[in-house]
């Protein structure tokens, strides 16, 4: 964007302005490299140092010998494949449940005029006022003993999947998007004899790709990054996602191996971010201006 900002183009074009600009620019590049990239570099290379080298002061900036054993040990000793798989299952299931149930509910609230629809929507929006973390204990008690059917979802991925559906933010995002879709297309389809499900599947969803993308990313990231809730749900070590397993195992494992495991745990989300960075950044930025 080439709209004018705080500084005028004329001021920047002057020799003094240009000198100041490039000094600030270099400063920011160095600051960003030190503040955000260096810690990540320190983590990735720290995992490749030998146990003696990592405890040494002053530390070595570049490992003297590059060991990959930290990574391979982490993979084998900490059962990372198992925990990563658990995380994938939990995140994918939460995503699927959210996409199906939230989309259907948002569609019903937006287009099908259910009785008490206003009241239900109000109830859903009210949960936005109640930050999720403050309710973890009663939520835990509910999941441990579901009302009426008296089943426990503890140590079961359903304990992650179903509560993930109760996401007012994503549901509202979808509903608001559906509200803005043109009515005449849907009415035309209805006249042609298409049922409600057919309209949702063949007309509404194809038109909603952008919002479905945003909701998908929110859903996946939320589960992948969550810690407190899976910590409560999975007391069974074999079923824990990587975030919980890392903390549980961090007490009695060699530092280099732990750091390697931390790097491995970060790769999926960071990789997803680098691949979809344009969409993610545009999504975050777009949110604020629309208000």
């Amino acid at each position: 964007m080439s709209t004018r900002t705080l500084l005028s183009p004329a001021a920047l074009a002057r020799p003094r302005g240009r000198a100041v600009y490039w000094t600030v620019f270099t400063g920011v590049v160095v600051l960003f490299a030190l503040a955000f990239l260096f810690p990540v570099y320190w983590m990735v290379t720290g995992a490749m140092k030998s146990p003696d080298e990592i405890a040494q002061t002053p530390p070595t900036i570049i490992p003297k010998h590059w060991h990959l054993s930290g990574y391979t040990d982490a993979w084998d000793l900490m059962q990372l494949p198992e925990h990563l798989w658990n995380t994938v299952v939990q995140a994918a299931g939460a995503w699927a449940f959210q996409l199906v149930l939230c989309t259907a509910a948002a569609y019903a609230l937006s287009k099908l005029k259910p009785a008490f629809g206003k009241l239900i929507l109000g109830g859903i929006l009210a949960t936005l006022m109640v930050p999720a973390q403050a309710l973890v204990v009663p939520k835990y008690l509910t999941v441990a003993d579901l009302p009426l059917i008296h089943t426990s979802l503890l140590n079961d991925p359903l304990g992650i999947w179903l509560p993930a559906v109760a996401n007012a933010f994503n549901l509202y995002l979808l509903k608001r998007f559906f509200d803005q879709l043109p009515r005449d297309v849907m009415e035309a389809a209805e006249i042609d004899g298409a049922g409600k499900l057919r309209i949702l599947w063949s007309i509404v969803l194809p038109m909603s790709r952008p919002v479905l993308g945003v909701v998908s990313i929110f859903a996946l990231v939320a589960v992948w990054q969550d810690f407190l809730w899976p910590l409560m749900v999975f007391s069974d070590t074999d079923k824990q996602p990587i975030s919980v397993a890392l903390v549980q195992l961090s007490q009695n494992i060699q530092l280099t191996v732990l750091i390697a495991a931390m790097v491995i745990a970060s790769i999926p989300m960071v990789a997803m971010f680098l691949v979809f960075q344009r969409h993610i950044i545009a999504g975050i930025s777009a949110g604020s201006t629309k208000g």
């Binding site: 503040a35 949110g287 201006t289």
Partner: protein
């Protein structure tokens, strides 16, 4: 992921269309069928909200007045849970820590992204690079960030003290000292979360019309005066939104103290949410945990209400 300032609960009511007269005789049945169909779509989501949002909220209030042990029938105990929690020496510490944490996170965690966004908005090169790099820490799982900083704060070979030694400055106890632990955690939270704030604020800065700056400059306003009289008033709404969101988020801080300090040293970093966790899972006192939850709920609910009211009234009153 950071919640953006998008929530705008203004409902757009669709213009009701004139409906064609229904076929004679079947109107009631038809409407019933329509309702059944609508609820078929709605029911899955509705059950999840009822079970995992509405019911727990009610239950928190109920259990707060009960002696509750899973498996046996609960007893009503009046306000005993509240008084017991109130007299817990960690209660005051937890609230003080949470409030100080929130305040520091607001001062540090808000001033830094604000200035960063202002500077980034002036840079004409490598824009994509800066945006990706600043958001990178947000994408690292919070648990990894916490463990990473726990290692940095290691009093021996940790990066934080190594850096101070390299600069010939006195070393610090960081997260292991009673007086430095809380601020150390604020630094971690700021590092981890400022990317979202920077990106949202950058977008807001780009929506400021350039003519305003031009006019201000013609009137002889200096750089700082332009920031004060153009930038800040023009983005007041977003600033307020981000601040409230940050307050709501940091009041619920748990992962950093749990992973880095375990609430210590000497309860210096126990937060309210951490105390709730301890009551439930260490003391097995669910009544006490719910009493604390209700207190946190009331406070956060008040902040959220302000947030929602502001988004509802929208930007048009700027």
């Amino acid at each position: 992921m950071t919640r953006t300032a998008t929530r705008n609960p203004v409902e757009t009511t669709a213009v009701r269309q004139v409906e064609a007269p229904p076929p004679v005789g079947g109107r009631g049945r038809r409407r019933l069928l329509d309702q059944a169909r609508a609820y078929a779509f709605l029911i899955g989501g509705l059950i999840c909200f009822a079970l995992f949002s509405w019911y727990p909220a009610i239950r928190a209030v109920v259990i707060a007045f009960q002696k509750y042990t899973p498996g046996s029938s609960p007893e009503w105990v009046g306000t005993a849970n509240f008084t017991r929690v109130w007299h817990d020496p960690e209660f005051t510490a937890a609230w003080r820590n949470t409030l100080v944490f929130t305040l520091l996170a607001l001062l540090i965690g808000f001033a830094i992204p604000f200035v960063l966004a202002l500077v980034l908005n002036e840079l004409r090169h490598w824009k994509a690079f800066f945006r990706v790099v600043v958001y990178l820490p947000v994408m690292i799982p919070p648990v990894v960030t916490a463990l990473l900083w726990k290692w940095f704060y290691d009093p021996g070979a940790g990066l934080a003290n190594e850096t101070l030694r390299f600069l010939h400055l006195p070393t610090s106890n960081w997260s292991n000292g009673t007086d430095t632990a809380l601020i150390s955690l604020v630094i971690v939270a700021t590092w981890a979360n400022l990317g979202g704030t920077v990106l949202i604020y950058l977008a807001a800065l780009q929506s400021i019309p350039g003519e305003l700056y031009e006019a201000a400059e013609l009137d002889g306003a200096s750089l700082l005066q332009r920031v004060r009289h153009v930038t800040i008033p023009q983005t007041r709404f977003v600033i307020l939104m981000l601040m409230l969101l940050q307050i709501i988020a940091t009041m619920q801080v748990f992962t950093e103290p749990f992973v880095i300090t375990g609430g210590g040293p000497e309860s210096a970093t126990v937060t309210v949410l951490y105390l709730i966790y301890k009551y439930a899972f260490l003391y097995n006192d669910f009544g006490g945990a719910c009493a604390l939850s209700v207190m946190l709920l009331v406070l956060l609910g008040a902040f959220s209400a302000v947030y929602l009211r502001l988004t509802r009234s929208g930007e048009d009153d700027l």
